[in-house]
Symmetry: C2
Subunit: 182 residues, 2 copies
């Protein structure tokens, strides 16, 4: 289910698809799960756990700004899209309260990590003193999510990488601006 959720989204994935990919019969599936909904909630929860775990660079070693740049520069399969962010455009998924909660929580966790790193960077003088950590966190998370959109629109990885490079350049410019402050 996790795979199909990534490839096709929630609405476009049928229980039959899941069974056939898992190689099990109907009886088995409906014995262990109540239906498509539960299948999706459990799969997406696991995926979200993985995703937030992958954000470790933000809490790792190095100066705060270095950590932010390292996380931004992580390889991302642009044309495949974000396994969590994807749900955001799926009408049935966004409508479903449980699924939406899983997605929202995952993003909240990510944004929290961003905010911490940004706050540290401001304190270290690596970013301008008047930087709003909450705003910048959302900007950088949006660059990544938007990078997926642009990459999928063209069916190429390049737009994702370009978007990230542009963000890295802006962060560098912000650092030189911060240095001129004192």
């Amino acid at each position: 289910m996790a795979e199909l959720l990534w490839e096709r989204g929630y609405a476009a994935t049928s229980p039959r698809d899941v069974m056939s990919r898992a190689g099990v019969g109907q009886g088995s599936m409906y014995h262990h799960f109540t239906g498509k909904h539960q299948l999706a909630v459990e799969a997406l929860t696991a995926v979200a756990r993985d995703m937030t775990a992958a954000a470790s660079p933000l809490d790792g070693d190095g100066s705060p700004l270095e950590r932010m740049k390292r996380y931004l520069a992580l390889p991302r399969p642009g044309t495949l899209g974000c396994r969590v962010g994807r749900m955001t455009q799926d009408p049935q998924a966004v409508t479903d309260p449980e699924l939406r909660t899983v997605v929202a929580t995952a993003f909240d966790t990510m944004l929290d990590r961003w905010e911490h790193a940004i706050t540290d960077a401001v304190a270290a003088g690596e970013l301008p003193a008047d930087t709003d950590p909450g705003d910048l966190a959302r900007t950088l998370a949006a660059v990544i999510q938007g990078g997926y959109v642009l990459a999928r629109a063209r069916g190429e990885q390049q737009p994702m990488d370009a978007a990230v490079r542009g963000a890295l350049a802006l962060l560098d410019a912000a650092r030189t601006a911060a240095r001129g402050e004192h």
Copy 2:
């Protein structure tokens, strides 16, 4: 069809939905259109035309950086999502060559306008001389597209606005950095 494409996406919209919203019978619809596919292509093409028309501030009056900021700050209904970018996550839409072309072309047009404005801003000394217009164009387009994703994840407008504010702040920082160059 354009409305439903926005609200539910391509896969989740059925010809029946379209007929019922338009208040026409089956015969009428299939008399004027070959089917769901053509309906979507024509609707999305019209929407894309509107969208690129709305990007006029990028070519308008004022200094290049001002124009960029003005366009970024345009009001955007975050929780509704982007009518064009949305298609990007729709498995059936991205798979469809014609629909994907419409989406890709719309983004290419937008990115072109961004690149021109950015190039002008660099020439005017409003952005650092080593700015890559292609990269930054994709970064800023990604902020908007990603802003939609974050807003929909929470079902609130606020993340979109925050992401844009953060981008505006980064552009300002880049301008002060550019001023220190000479």
